[in-house]
């Protein structure tokens, strides 16, 4: 294998007018679409009162914000997890592309507060357990099961957890970037060692806290339901999506003549990761679905009653197609992982699939209308069938995607495009996947 001469050079990214057009265009178009979607959404569902239908509009609005706020936040925090895990695994190959996840993690600075604000409004609207009086004995909507969860599911504790967890993660992500940028200035191993120590702490704490975070944000929407694998499943979602975005950015930056030390070899390895963790995601999906479906316990299987055997059926199969079949068959081939066009196609499909997956985790529970428990509605909810993907969904997705893009591109300009003085930079520059 012939290696070309390697030059470690200091690259700076400058935002092009095309970048700005895309980022702001997505945000503006998204905002307009979302507004049109919001004002033109007039659901007509038999048996529901005007008040309920009005409530449904609010629910869809906040549910969309939650889907996107959560999706982009977990992607950016998983980008930080990618740095920390690679660091403690002593990985060398990824140094050429390390600044991309670093830049992605900068979105947390704005994505964290946004998610907090969304939660503040979404809590009484979307989360059944957060309704007034539901945990107070004697009220008409009293739910004994939900009341038994009050030690964990209560508003103050919810906010405390959210602020503490996100605060810690955002601080760690900030420190990773700081150490890394400082390394470009002074070289040596000081920052490498500091990052190593912080990464070990972050990885362990992140493992435990992300679990609770996903239960709080998403699992507690279906407040009666529970699944122990849920948090790992959510981590797989964020992790695969983060890998995919790193992969797409690498293709993009290389095609613009940046990242001179990154090559098809890095693209190939990122592609392998996308392949492997798409299979991992599917493994989690199957573990959760198969065990619940097989045991057929009513309290648990109700989750899939709406999703895979109800009005969300088509979407669930589309998600499985996009998240498993697509990467599995297309990214099994070496050339498809290395080629830019196929990479863009498969990468976009995976991202759409995982966004849809978060949407399908949130929507069925969030769109249910609360009612007083009775013989006809023992769980205290009126089921609302899938409202599909409309302008509101597309609009909010575009808005958040534009914001994420803008934050990441801006962060990319703040430092060299790859760490020039990292102890493993030469390993990465000479990286070769072998046979």
């Amino acid at each position: 294998m012939e290696h070309a001469e390697v030059h470690i050079r200091e690259e700076k990214y400058t935002i092009t007018s095309g970048n700005k057009k895309w980022a702001f265009g997505l945000m503006i178009v998204g905002l307009i679409l979302a507004a049109i979607g919001y004002f033109t959404y007039h659901p007509h569902i038999e048996g529901l009162s005007e008040h309920d239908l009005h409530h449904l509009i609010q629910k869809r609005f906040w549910a969309n914000l939650l889907v996107n706020g959560y999706f982009f936040f977990i992607i950016s925090i998983c980008a930080a997890a990618f740095i920390s895990i690679s660091q403690i695994a002593n990985a060398g190959w990824y140094i050429a592309i390390r600044r991309i996840p670093e830049a992605m993690s900068e979105y947390t600075l704005i994505g964290g507060p946004i998610l907090l604000i969304i939660s503040f409004f979404a809590l009484p609207t979307l989360y059944h357990w957060a309704h007034d009086g539901i945990m107070t004995e004697g009220t008409s909507n009293y739910d004994a099961l939900l009341a038994s969860k009050s030690w964990y599911l209560n508003k103050p504790f919810f906010y405390i957890r959210m602020v503490v967890f996100m605060g810690f993660w955002i601080w760690c992500a900030h420190m990773f970037r700081k150490y890394s940028r400082n390394e470009d200035e002074i070289g040596g191993l000081v920052n490498y060692k500091k990052t190593y120590a912080l990464s070990a702490a972050f990885t362990v704490i992140f493992g435990f806290t992300f679990s609770m975070f996903s239960w709080d944000q998403i699992m507690s929407i279906d407040a009666h339901w529970y699944s122990t694998i849920f948090s790992i499943y959510n981590f797989a979602t964020g992790w695969v999506s983060a890998l995919t975005i790193i992969y797409l950015f690498t293709h993009y930056l290389r095609s613009r003549g940046y990242l001179n030390i990154a090559s098809d070899e890095h693209q190939h390895d990122l592609g392998k990761f996308m392949f492997a963790f798409s299979v991992f995601w599917t493994y989690m999906w199957v573990s959760q679905f198969l065990l619940i479906w097989y045991a057929n316990i009513p309290e648990e299987v109700v989750y899939y009653k709406d999703r895979i055997f109800g009005s969300y059926k088509g979407w669930i199969f589309l998600i499985l197609f996009l998240n498993f079949i697509t990467p599995f068959f297309f990214f099994m081939m070496r050339d498809w992982k290395r080629n830019k066009i196929s990479g863009y196609i498969v990468g976009s499909m995976i991202l759409i699939g995982h966004w849809l997956d978060v949407w399908a985790m949130v929507m069925p529970g969030a769109m249910n209308l609360a009612t007083d428990p009775s013989d006809t509605h023992p769980a205290g909810i009126i089921k609302v069938a899938s409202q599909g993907i409309g302008l509101m969904e597309i609009g909010f997705l575009c808005l958040f995607a534009g914001l994420f893009l803008l934050m990441t591109l801006r962060a990319l300009t703040k430092a060299n495009l790859y760490p020039t003085k990292h102890p493993y930079v030469m390993e990465s520059a000479l990286h070769d996947v072998g046979i």
Partner: protein, 473 residues
């Protein structure tokens, strides 16, 4: 040959040359066994005899020889089965997953870990056979066209999936292990001085010539087998976990079981790898091949997987409390504070708390600490399976049926005896086959030959720079 940063640890120390590697690793094969080997081999043979005796007794008497009762119908047998299957996982992880991740530290430990996998699966299978009560009809779980009309196995049953998963796992592991052995067997063949040795090693070397073409084939087939084995690491223990998780039994039916069992399996497997290798590197003087860097890496894997398993324990406990299902809640309270509380807390302290000692880098490289920890991990993981199986069953749905389970002396003898079976096979392995992959280790030794190789590349001078200099600054 890829480039390595000078801050990385050397994986072979002591300035070994190619011929040193061959000499060191073929030494146990070409000389009469040491005293230590004879002691170990004799002890394991005696223990194996215990296993044969107790298993034979069970087959002759029937399962009445065990402490099972109407409530606890699965106990020691399945505990031991899951324990041994789990042990095997480290071998596959080291040889397959770490190969895909290009982790070079796997090279001096993969051979013995793979051998361990095969022997552990044999031990596990022995429990499946003996727990059937009528081992002569052991072929019944195999979907064969049969003389009973249209009677087929129940394909809906995870126990049948298990039969497929484990037999696939065993076959693939065996092939993987054997393919990796071929170049080394050829080395032994070429060095053989007697006719018999030449014949037998020559037979198993399958005409290996060492040509570029055969090496190329060897590398391709290794990668393909690694690709096949990697999903197997996950699938085997996932399916084992489904033996429990597809049921309705509180404490068994929980969705985290598949990944949690896999993490536990890798954890227990690394425990056993450490037990074997810490001894082997002392007794066989392999300290230059299984260096402190190897011990450090393995200790880290133990700590990470132990913490993952601990997280699963806590998740289960939390979700049981959160679920509001009183049966779930009772199952977990009963585990922690019921009559088998001591088993639960043994599991917790061995698997979650004890491995935290590896936050200290001194502990990670100290063979004594590692050896003690590896025993603790083995004990902890055995108790984990005992806790899951027995505590969930012994207090089942009708309180009138509640019962305690105590193993009989026969069961305990079979468990102890299974270690005899395992070590008997392992001692034979280290006597007759090279227990470190010579071919792969040679590819990572830092010699002058190494530098020559770099001369062929464009960046030779920069790369051959002395260790300790940072490139690229």
């Amino acid at each position: 040959m890829s480039y390595e940063s000078p801050i990385r640890d050397q994986l072979v120390t002591g300035g070994k040359t190619y011929s040193d590697v061959t000499r060191d690793i073929t030494r146990p094969l070409e000389n009469s066994p040491s005293k230590g080997w004879w002691i170990g081999f004799s002890l394991s043979t005696v223990t194996l005899a215990l296993w044969i005796g107790a298993t034979t007794y069970t087959v002759l008497v029937g399962l009445g020889a065990w402490g099972l009762n109407k409530t606890v119908g699965w106990a020691f047998d399945i505990t031991n089965f899951v324990f041994w299957v789990g042990i095997g996982h480290a071998g596959t992880l080291i040889s397959a997953v770490l190969l895909l991740f290009r982790q070079k530290w796997r090279m001096s430990i993969n051979r013995s870990a793979e051998a361990m996998t095969i022997f552990a699966v044999i031990c596990a299978a022995s429990f499946i056979l003996s727990h059937m009560g009528r081992p002569w009809v052991a072929y019944w779980p195999i979907p064969l066209p049969n003389a009973f009309g249209t009677l087929w196995v129940n394909f809906n049953s995870p126990l049948v999936w298990d039969v497929f998963a484990i037999s696939t796992y065993f076959s693939v592991s065996l092939v993987f292990w054997y393919v990796g052995l071929i170049p080394d067997i050829a080395t032994v063949r070429d060095r053989a001085t007697t006719k018999a040795r030449k014949f037998w090693y020559g037979f198993f070397a399958m005409g290996w010539t060492g040509s570029t073409r055969t090496w190329h084939r060897y590398e391709v087939i290794s990668l393909i087998l690694a690709g096949i084995s990697t999903p197997l690491v996950l699938s085997v223990h996932s399916i084992v976990s489904m033996d429990f998780a597809t049921s309705l039994v509180p404490g068994w039916h929980t969705t985290i079981f598949p990944p949690y069992f896999v993490a536990g399996a890798i954890f227990s497997g690394f425990g056993m790898v450490l037990t074997l290798l810490v001894i082997a590197r002392e007794v066989m003087n392999y300290k230059d091949y299984i260096t402190e860097a190897h011990l450090d890496a393995m200790a880290k894997v133990v700590m990470v997987t132990g913490t993952m398993v601990g997280m699963a324990y806590i998740t289960e406990f939390f979700v049981a409390a959160y679920s509001g299902v009183e049966y779930e809640q009772y199952a977990f309270l009963n585990r922690a504070f019921g009559p088998y509380w001591w088993a639960y807390w043994t599991m917790m302290s061995c698997n979650l708390i004890a491995p935290q000692v590896f936050w200290s880098s001194k502990a990670r490289t100290n063979p004594t600490v590692l050896f003690i920890m590896s025993i603790i991990v083995n004990i902890g993981m055995w108790f984990e399976r005992f806790v899951i199986i027995v505590t969930s069953l012994h207090r089942d749905f009708i309180p009138a049926n509640w019962a305690m389970y105590t193993p009989t002396i026969t069961e305990v003898t079979i468990l102890i005896g299974s270690f005899g079976l395992f070590f008997f096979l392992f001692f034979l392995f280290i006597k007759f086959l090279p227990s470190i992959n010579m071919a792969e280790v040679k590819s990572i030794i830092p010699t002058h030959a190494h530098e020559d190789e770099h001369q062929h590349h464009g960046h030779s001078h920069e790369l051959a720079t002395e260790k300790g200099v940072l490139h690229g600054n």
